[in-house]
C-alpha cells in the first residue's frame, strides 16, 4: 500500500500503535517481524528502559538493527546477559517474569487463539507451516499477550485449523477452566485497527480505527462478524518522531542484512 495520502503505510501504523502499548517497565518476550520492530521503536522513543527478551537467550537486548532471526549476533552483543535456551524457558518465561508476550499469527480467531502449525488436517496438511516454536508456553506463561497481524480473510478466520497457542479458547472463563492463570490476549493490533477483548465474552472488539480506515474495511478483511465498541476512537496518527525512528531502524536493518550478500553477488 502507498503512503502517499496519509504519509504513512498501514503497516507502519500497526507497528507504531503496537509500540505505544508498551510501557517503560515492561519485560517483553519478542517475536521476529512486526513485534520486534514495535518493541524496538518503543525502546527508541517513550520506553528507553523496556526489557526486551528474545527466546534465543538474550535478556535486556538493545539491537541497533532489527535481527533477521531471533538469534542474530546483534542481540547477544547488546544484551545485559545471554543465557541458555533451557534457562530462558524455565527461569524467565515459566518463572513468570515476562509481562508482555508478543505473538504474530498465520490464522487467528476472534478469541485470540492462534495457528501457525498447519493449514488443513494435522496429519495430512495442505500447508505445513513452521509450527509453534515458543508460542504455546509464551501464550500461557506471559502475564499478557499482545498480537499483531495484517488483516485478511484468510488470516482472521471463524475457526482456526490448529490450536498452536491458546488465547481465550471458546471465550469467557475458558482459560481459568484449563488452569491457566495468566490474562492471555489483551490486545490485538492490526494494520487497520486496535482491538481489545470484551471483558466477559473475551471476543476481540474494535476499540480504535487507524486514521482513514472505515468499519467496512475492517469487516471486509476479517473472516468473522466484527464487533465495534460504542465509544470507537481514532488511533492517533504516527508522530514525525515515531515515523522517523521506525524508518531509520528499517533502513539500518536493510543495509545491514544486504551487506552480507555483497561479495556473493559481485
Amino acid at each position: 500500500m502507498s503512503d502517499s495520502k496519509l504519509g504513512f503505510t498501514p503497516n507502519e501504523m500497526m507497528t507504531i500503535a503496537a509500540s505505544r502499548a508498551l510501557k517503560n517497565n515492561d519485560v517483553c518476550f519478542v517475536g521476529i517481524g512486526a513485534p520486534s520492530a514495535a518493541c524496538n521503536v518503543a525502546r527508541l522513543t517513550h520506553a528507553p528502559d523496556i526489557t526486551l527478551i528474545y527466546e534465543s537467550g538474550t535478556i535486556g537486548t538493545a539491537p541497533n538493527v532489527l535481527p533477521l532471526s531471533i538469534g542474530d549476533g546483534e542481540l547477544c552483543d547488546t544484551a545485559v546477559t545471554t543465557v541458555s535456551v533451557p534457562e530462558m524457558f524455565r527461569y524467565w518465561l515459566q518463572g513468570g517474569r515476562i509481562s508482555i508476550g508478543f505473538l504474530g499469527a498465520a490464522q487467528l480467531d476472534k478469541f485470540g487463539n492462534i495457528n501457525t502449525t498447519v493449514i488443513g488436517d494435522y496429519l495430512h496438511p495442505k500447508t505445513r507451516l513452521p509450527g509453534g516454536g515458543g508460542a504455546p508456553e509464551i501464550a500461557t506463561s506471559s502475564k499478557e499477550i499482545y498480537i499483531t497481524m495484517a488483516q485478511s480473510k484468510r488470516g482472521m478466520v471463524e475457526t482456526i485449523d490448529f490450536y498452536t497457542s491458546f488465547g481465550h479458547g471458546e471465550g469467557g472463563d475458558h482459560r481459568k477452566r484449563l488452569g491457566i492463570e495468566t490474562a492471555g490476549p489483551t490486545l490485538l493490533i492490526t494494520d487497520l485497527a486496535i482491538w481489545k477483548p470484551d471483558p466477559v465474552t473475551k471476543e476481540f472488539t474494535v476499540v480504535s480505527l487507524h486514521p482513514g480506515v472505515s468499519r467496512a474495511e475492517v469487516q471486509a478483511t476479517c473472516g468473522w462478524t466484527v464487533k465495534f465498541t460504542d465509544a470507537l476512537e481514532e488511533t492517533p496518527a504516527p508522530t514525525a518522531l515515531e515515523l522517523k525512528t521506525l524508518r531509520d531502524l528499517q533502513a539500518r536493518t536493510k543495509a545491514a542484512h544486504a551487506a552480507t550478500g555483497k561479495e556473493k553477488a559481485a
Binding site: I32, E55, S56, G57, T58, P67, L68, S69, I70, G71, D72, G73, L75, C76, T82, V83, S84, V85, P86, M88, F89, R90, L93, Q94, T117, Y122, L123, P125, K126, T127, R128, L129, P130, G131, G132, G133, G134, P136, E137, A139, T140, S141, F162, Y163, T164, S165, F166, G169, H174, R175, L178, G179, I180, H257, A258, T260, G261, K262, E263, K264
Partner: protein
C-alpha cells in the same frame, strides 16, 4: 578420551545408518560442515532431532536421509518456511517422514532432562495447545504437593550430537560462547558427541571460570573446520550470512534447483571449503 580427527573421519566413526542424531545450534553456531559431511557420506534412516531444523535438516530431508524428524520450529528463521521439509510432509517427496512435534519449552526441557540423566522432563506447558492431542509423547504428571497437572515429555537422548563451537584447547576442552542455545545439554544428553571448532588454542588458562566449557571427557571427537557454521555465524569470528538464508528460500522452492545446488555446493565440496565462505563475513579484528 576425545580424539582430534579430520571431519570426514569423525563423522564416519560416530554416525551410523538408523541413528537418532541431533545437529544442534539455536540460530547461532549451526554445525553446517558436519551436516554436509553426513550428507556426502550418505547416511540413511536417520531420526533427526533439533529445536529449529533450519537449512541443514531441509537439506538432509531433501536428500532422503531422514526417517523421522523431532522439532519445535520448522522454519527458515526470519525468512519463512522450509520447503524441502514441507515437500516431504505434504507430498512424501522424496519420501514420507514421520513427524514428532513439540514446543520450544518441551524440547528445551527434554534436552535438559537428557543431560540430567532423567527419563522425562516435567514443566508447565502445552495448556490448551493442539500439540498435546496429536503427539503421544506429551503426557502429564500431577504435583504430589499441590495437585497441579504439569506436562511431561520423554528425555532426549541422541545416539550422537554434533555441534559447532569457537575453540578447543590442546587437551580437547571446548568453549562455546555467545548465544549458547541448547548445545551443552545436547552434548551431555548424547551417547557420543562430535564438535567442529574454528580453531585450537594452547590452553584455556585465561578464560573466565563461569564460561560454557565442555570438558574433553564429554566429547568423542573434535574437528577443526574454520567457517564450519556458515551460513550461520560464530560469535567473535564471523557474522550471519543473512543473504544466504534469503537465497535458500528460492533454492529449496524447486526440486531440481535444490538437487543441482546440493550437487555443486555439498556433494562436490569438502569441509575445507567453509573457510572461504566466511571470508567476507569475518569480524574486523
Amino acid at each position: 578420551m576425545v580424539k582430534f580427527l579430520p571431519l570426514s573421519e569423525a563423522v564416519a566413526w560416530n554416525l551410523n545408518d538408523g541413528d537418532t542424531v541431533a545437529f544442534e545450534g539455536f540460530t547461532h553456531l549451526i554445525p553446517t560442515a558436519a551436516a554436509h559431511e553426513a550428507i556426502r557420506q550418505g547416511f540413511r534412516e536417520l531420526t533427526l532431532i533439533r529445536m529449529t531444523p533450519d537449512l541443514i535438516y531441509d537439506q538432509m530431508i531433501g536428500m532422503g536421509m531422514a526417517r523421522k524428524i523431532v522439532f519445535s520450529y520448522l522454519g527458515n528463521p526470519g525468512v519463512g518456511l522450509l520447503r524441502r521439509a514441507r515437500d516431504a510432509i505434504e507430498n512424501g517427496f522424496p519420501r514420507l517422514i514421520e513427524v514428532e512435534e513439540h514446543s520450544h519449552a518441551g524440547m528445551a526441557n527434554a534436552y535438559e532432562a537428557g543431560a540430567a540423566g532423567l527419563p522425562c522432563a516435567v514443566f508447565r506447558g502445552y495448556r490448551g495447545a493442539g500439540l498435546a492431542a496429536v503427539n503421544p509423547n506429551i503426557k502429564t504428571v500431577s504435583c504430589p504437593f499441590t495437585g497441579e497437572v504439569l506436562a511431561a515429555v520423554p528425555a532426549i537422548r541422541p545416539d550422537v550430537t554434533f555441534i559447532h563451537a569457537q575453540k578447543a584447547d590442546r587437551k580437547g576442552n571446548v568453549l562455546v560462547e555467545g548465544i549458547i542455545g541448547i548445545q551443552k545439554e545436547a552434548v551431555l544428553a548424547a551417547k557420543r558427541a562430535v564438535v567442529t571448532v574454528e580453531e585450537v588454542v594452547d590452553n584455556f588458562d585465561e578464560l573466565h571460570p563461569n564460561l560454557t566449557v565442555l570438558p574433553s571427557w564429554t566429547i568423542s571427537a573434535i574437528s577443526v573446520v574454520p567457517g564450519g557454521s556458515h551460513p550461520s555465524y560464530t560469535h567473535g569470528y564471523y557474522i550471519r550470512d543473512n543473504a544466504a538464508y534469503l537465497e535458500w528460500d528460492e533454492i529449496a522452492a524447486d526440486r531440481e534447483k535444490f538437487r543441482a545446488w546440493m550437487q555443486k555446493n555439498v556433494m562436490e565440496r569438502t569441509a575445507d571449503d567453509f573457510a572461504a565462505r566466511v571470508e567476507h563475513l569475518r569480524i574486523a579484528a
